[in-house]
Subunit: 83 residues, 2 copies
């Protein structure tokens, strides 16, 4: 079976996020004063062939640890679509 | 009230995604042959001060249309945390 996996990779809490700050300033300049605490990360979607959703998640977690996320500066969140 | 809004900005379906292809090749080279159809986009999180979740979503949608997403090449998905 194939499972669609959604990964969200975000800069770790407490670390500076210059891209997020730049977006926040741009939003303020555009009149969106109600926006704050902007963080910018990566969204990754992929198909994972596996026997079960649990196996797909385990493999996706290995992919994050080895390639998709930087373990020093980023956290990631996995979500396996079951269809 | 303040609502945490999660935005996922992805390359539109049917458009080439060179970054996704590069990640897919890298995953294959690392031994993750079960990965496929990789797409890479941006994950954005922000606080939006608003009177209701609906208002927060409407304002966040305007932010996406004006700054956060490229309407020609990207689709976005909004999710308002209600806490």
């Amino acid at each position: 079976m194939t499972f669609r996996v959604h990964v969200r990779v975000m800069p770790r809490a407490g670390l500076l996020d210059p891209q997020g700050q730049a977006v926040e300033h741009a939003l303020t300049a555009l009149g969106f004063a109600e926006a704050g605490a902007v963080r910018v990360g990566r969204a990754i979607e992929l198909d994972v062939a596996a026997a079960s959703p649990g196996e797909a998640e385990a493999r996706a977690r290995q992919m994050c640890d080895k390639l998709l996320a930087n373990p020093v500066t980023e956290d990631y969140l996995l979500n396996v679509e079951s269809d």
